[in-house]
Every structure is written in C-alpha cells, then in structure tokens.
C-alpha cells in the first residue's frame, strides 16, 4: 500500500500572492524524497498542497494538478477528508492530543471518525503502529498515561504511530526532527528508513546531512528574493544533488556557499 505522486504545473497562491510557481515533480512509490532549500522558499507550503492541508490557511489556493496514482487530488468532487486519510502528515512540532492517553492517540484517526472496531483489533493496531514507530518497548507498560507526558522525541514517534495507524498511502513530514535532540533524530531517521518499505515518504528538512542520509531523491527549492515565488530548482537522485548537481545554485546551497 503505497502510491506514487505526480505533480504537474502547480502554482500555490496566498490570496493574490504567488508563493510557489510552476512545480513539476514525480515521486515514486516506496521511496523517500527530501525537499531542501532556504527558509521561505515554499517547500513546506508545497508539501501541504500534497494533501490539501494548505486549505486550513485562509486565502491559500492552488492551480495545477497533483495526481495520486493517476487520480487528481484537485479534481472536482474530491473531498479533502478522503485525500488526507490517504496521505498522512507529521508536523514540525510534536502535537499529540493532550486529552487522550497514548493508546487513544494512536487510535485517534479511527476513534475520531467514529469507526467501530473490536477491542482486539484496536489492541492489534496500537501494537503494530507503535512497533512501526519504534515506540512500543518504551510505552507498552503505560498505554493509558497521557501522551503529553512523553519526551519530545517519543511524542514525535507517537505522532508517526498515529499517522500510520490509519494506514495511509503516503506520509508527509514537515521538518519532523527540527525540535528534537540528535538521539531522537537518529531514532526518527532509522524509522524513516523502515517506513520506506511500506509507504511513500516525503520529508522537508533543513538538515542537509539528514537529507543525504535518509532520502533516495532530493528536490532543491529556491527563491529569487523576497516577494518572489519559490521554485523547484533541481530534482534528482540524492547522490547526484550532493556530489554533482547540474545547477550552480544547488551546488552553492549544498556546499554551504549560499548567498
């Protein structure tokens, strides 16, 4: 269960302001794709358009096509709720639901939608999701404790467990490690490598070593200046981007000579 994403001629606007211009990208199933680029270049905005989460921001709108295995996310009659149940998202800051226990946090996607499942099914989902997020051994004895009592790294893995519990096709991650220490970051990176076996993963990161470590392909976004739209500059195998990029701006950015 994983699908590919093909984006064609995508423009993202905030009101009348063109934030991201003319993105074309093809993301294969069961790969890890990293988006890198300077702050404000629109990589997070673009990531949000991949599961229509940008619609939460007032005034944000999109022109163009995003195809999930050939189905246009922006086709008429497509319910954003359906899109989001197939394309999960992990945020920059861990955000477990404070009113719920660890167990209920994992089951949130199912329980909040009022789907009825038996207790044994629920137990199975909780265990497999937490195993999948490498968190099971740390929390199996305190599943009924609040999720907000965990450490930041554990909370982030809990959020990943919550995301994979609804069995999405694609997982989007918006700088998932930027609020975490190096050990927790390592745990998440190991996890991303395992997630690749089952899911298509797209990750936004400011950490270029991280992009080099976890991703198969890397997309470099850049912005010409304030007030200008962000653009996809180069998209290639990660090894190519970091050793032999074809665009000068990419080379400057990945080698630290940016600006």
């Amino acid at each position: 269960m994983s699908k590919r994403i093909d984006v064609a001629d995508l423009n993202v606007y905030y009101g009348n302001f063109l934030a991201v211009e003319d993105v074309n990208i093809n993301i294969d199933a069961k790969t890890v794709t990293a988006f890198i680029g300077p702050s404000g270049c629109g990589k997070s905005t673009f990531l949000r358009t991949l599961n229509r989460m940008h619609e939460v921001i007032p005034g944000a709108r999109v022109e163009g096509k995003v195809m999930l295995d050939g189905d246009n996310l922006y086709g008429s009659g497509v319910d954003p709720v359906t899109v989001r149940s197939q394309i999960g998202m992990v945020f920059q800051r861990p955000n477990p639901f404070p009113t719920m226990s660890i167990r209920d946090n994992v089951l949130a996607g199912i329980k909040l939608n009022n789907k009825r499942i038996s207790k044994s099914d629920a137990d199975g989902i909780v265990e497999s999701s937490l195993q999948g997020a490498n968190l099971w051994n740390e929390v199996k004895d305190r599943l009924d404790k609040p999720g907000s009592g965990l450490s930041g790294g554990q909370q982030q893995r809990l959020c990943i467990a919550r995301t994979i519990a609804v069995k999405p096709e694609v997982i989007l991650m918006d700088e998932p490690c930027s609020a975490l220490d190096p050990i927790s970051t390592l745990a998440i990176e190991d996890l991303i490598n395992e997630l690749k076996n089952d899911y298509t993963v797209v990750i936004v990161t400011h950490n270029m070593q991280q992009a080099a470590r976890v991703s198969d392909k890397t997309a470099f976004f850049n912005i010409a200046g304030t007030g200008k739209p962000g653009k996809l500059i180069e998209y290639a195998e990660t090894a190519t981007i970091f050793s032999n990029p074809s665009v000068k701006a990419t080379e400057d950015y990945v080698s630290g000579r940016f600006g």
Binding site: V56, N95, F97, P98, K111, K145, S148
Partner: protein
C-alpha cells in the same frame, strides 16, 4: 596544607547594604506606635489610626531603604507597599460585606429555615416571634427551589446558544462580516441593564401567552438574555487558546471539521468552558429586578416553571425588607432577609468553588 574558609553568614560582601528581613516589620511597628501617639493628642479613632500608620509606614520604609540600600531598592519597596495597599483597599468591601451578612444572617439560619416556605406565616406569627413567644417561623424553601429552577432553565437555554455562538465565531466566522456583527452585538448585550432584560422577557411572553403572564420560564428567559453574552465571551476565549496544531493534527488524520471540533477542540477547552459557564450562572443567580417583573413573587412552593408565579431568593430578600410580614414588628422579616442573603452568598461561593473544581477535573493531565 589545609584551607579554611571563613563563613561570614551576615557580613558577606554580596549582602552588604541590605536591610534584614525583619526591617519592614520593625518600620511597621514603629509607624503604628508613632501614629497612635500622634492621634492620642487629637482624639483617637481606629480608621484614622490605620490610614495614618499606613502613610507613615510607606514613607518611612522608603526613607530607611533609600538611606541603607539605595534608590533602586527604595523604589522597589515603595511600589511593593503601594500594591499591597491597593490589594487591602480592594479587599475591604468584600470582607466587610461577607462579615456583615454573616453576623446578621447567622441568627436566622437553621435547617427549618431551609426546609419551610412562607405559607401561614402572617403578621400575627411574626408578632409572637418578636415578643419572644415563639422561634422564627417561615423559611426560604420555596425561594430556593424557585432560584434553582429558574437558573437551571436559564442555563438550559443559554449554554447551548452561547457555546454554539462561540464555536461559530472561532471555528467558522473567521473575522467575516457576520462574525464581527455578532461580536459587536454580544458586547452590546453584555451592557444591557438587567431590568431591560426583564422587560424584554415580559414583553415577549405578553405577545405569546397574553398580557400579564408571569412564570418561572419568563424569568429564565430574562436571565438567559443576561447570561448568553457571558457564556459566549468566556467560551470564545477558551476555544481561541486551543492550539491550531491540534486542529491540523486532526485534519491530517482525515477527520472532518465538525468531528474535530466536537472531539478535539471542545474536550481540550472543556475545563475553561465549564468554569466560564459556572461563573456565568453565579453572575445571574443574584439578579433581582428581572425576576420581579417576570416571575412575580409568592409565599408558597411552586415547582412548575411554566405556570403560576414563582419565588426566588433575591425577590424574597427584596420583599421581606420592603414589605415586612408584620408591619409593626419588622425584625423577624429583616432577620429572614439577612439569612436569605447569607444563603445566596454561600450559593455564589459554592458555584465559584465548583468552577475551580470543574476546571481541575477536566484539565488535560500531564502524567508521566
């Protein structure tokens, strides 16, 4: 070689020029003594003594601190004294009210007083009480029941309306024209005099049920006019502080907006909403004027809010003072009024304590 460290507990270089902790107390004692001495020349009274001592203390405390500790510390102590003074001034009326009601009302307070109504209590009965021939008769059971029922119905009407309005404003309105208009009119409603709310409810039911219709439900409608804006305002603030990240987390799991509101946003804010609602109830439970014009006043128990007049605690107090049961011996009526006031204050305090309790029970737990 051994190194000995001399421990200088009081004369450390870092604590030089600092007044000892007992200094303000010494200054305060001095101020009290000096002002007592000064006033004994001019004629002593307690209030003058307190005010003069306070002024002397603030000045002397500043001067002593300025001489020993310097300008910055002196200013700090001066500001601290002023803030304490403001706090004490704010507490005086509150403590005074509670003390007056307690001392005046406790004598009339008994189990009988809570469980009997005013039926059969006429001037003759009160005359006998005033002459010392019988204990205080009559009670507030009917008024307590009326207050409880009217407030309950006011809550039943205003909590859903207020909460749903707040949800619209925070989750759907998004600063649009309708949302701004609602906010404006809610603010206007906050300032409506309570008697106007009462007249509105009386007028509304005059149209529906005929002129002169008075019942508990009319009073409940009048109270809900006063209560709705308070509920809207407090719930709105509570919903606003729910982090957007939680809404996004829910949307990203493929959860619909209204389910997100019902199952994520409201549970996260429920402790604040519940305590805000309780405070709104405490705000209207003591309303007098709107109840007199809408629910009327009776001396017997009425548990049906939809027909017949209904007593309430504030109206009970009002009528006992204004129309004593025995015009020649008003003391028993006055005593009943004080005792009823005591019960009302206790109710309001219990509601406020309840609000804190509710907030604590519903608060998201941070257990490890």
């Amino acid at each position: 070689m051994t190194v000995t460290t001399e421990i200088r507990s009081s004369r450390s270089a870092l604590t030089r020029n600092k007044l000892p902790n007992w200094a303000p107390w010494a200054v305060a004692a001095g101020a009290l003594v000096v002002s007592a001495a000064v006033l004994s020349l001019a004629g002593f009274n307690v209030w003058g003594w307190a005010v003069l001592a306070a002024v002397l203390f603030v000045a002397a405390n500043w001067a002593v601190s300025f001489a020993v500790e310097g300008a910055r510390k002196a200013t700090d102590r001066f500001a601290t004294s002023l803030m304490f003074g403001a706090f004490i001034v704010a507490m005086v009326p509150l403590v005074s009210v509670i003390w007056t009601v307690l001392t005046n009302g406790i004598a009339g307070f008994s189990l009988d007083f809570l469980t009997s109504d005013m039926q059969g209590v006429r001037g003759r009965v009160d005359n006998a009480t005033a002459a010392g021939e019988s204990p205080l008769m009559g009670g507030i059971a009917h008024a307590l029941t009326g207050t409880f029922l009217i407030t309950l119905w006011a809550s039943i009407i205003s909590i859903p309306i207020g909460l749903l309005t707040a949800i619209y404003l925070v989750e759907y309105g998004q600063g649009g024209r309708l949302a701004r208009a609602i906010t404006f009119f809610v603010d206007v409603m906050t300032g409506i005099p309570s008697i106007v709310a009462g007249l509105f409810a009386a007028g509304l039911f005059a149209l529906i049920a005929g002129p002169g219709f008075k019942a508990g439900i009319v009073g409940a409608v009048a109270l809900s006019v006063l209560m709705i804006p308070v509920v809207v305002r407090s719930s709105e603030e509570m919903l606003k502080i729910v982090p957007n990240e939680l809404r996004e987390a829910s949307y990203a799991l493929g959860v619909r907006k209204w389910r997100t509101i019902v199952k994520v946003v409201i549970p996260t804010a429920i402790s604040g909403i519940a305590s805000g609602v309780t405070i709104a109830i405490a705000r209207v439970i003591g309303e007098t004027a709107p109840l007199i014009v809408t629910a009327g006043f009776v001396t017997r128990m009425n548990t049906n809010v939809f027909s017949d007049w209904m007593a309430s605690l504030p109206a009970f107090i009002y009528y006992q003072i204004l129309n004593p049961t025995s015009p020649t011996n008003p003391e028993p009526s006055t005593l009943r009024a004080w005792a009823a006031a005591l019960v009302l204050i206790i109710l309001v305090m219990l509601l406020n304590l309840g609000a804190r309790l509710i907030a604590r029970i519903f608060a998201p737990k941070i257990g490890r």
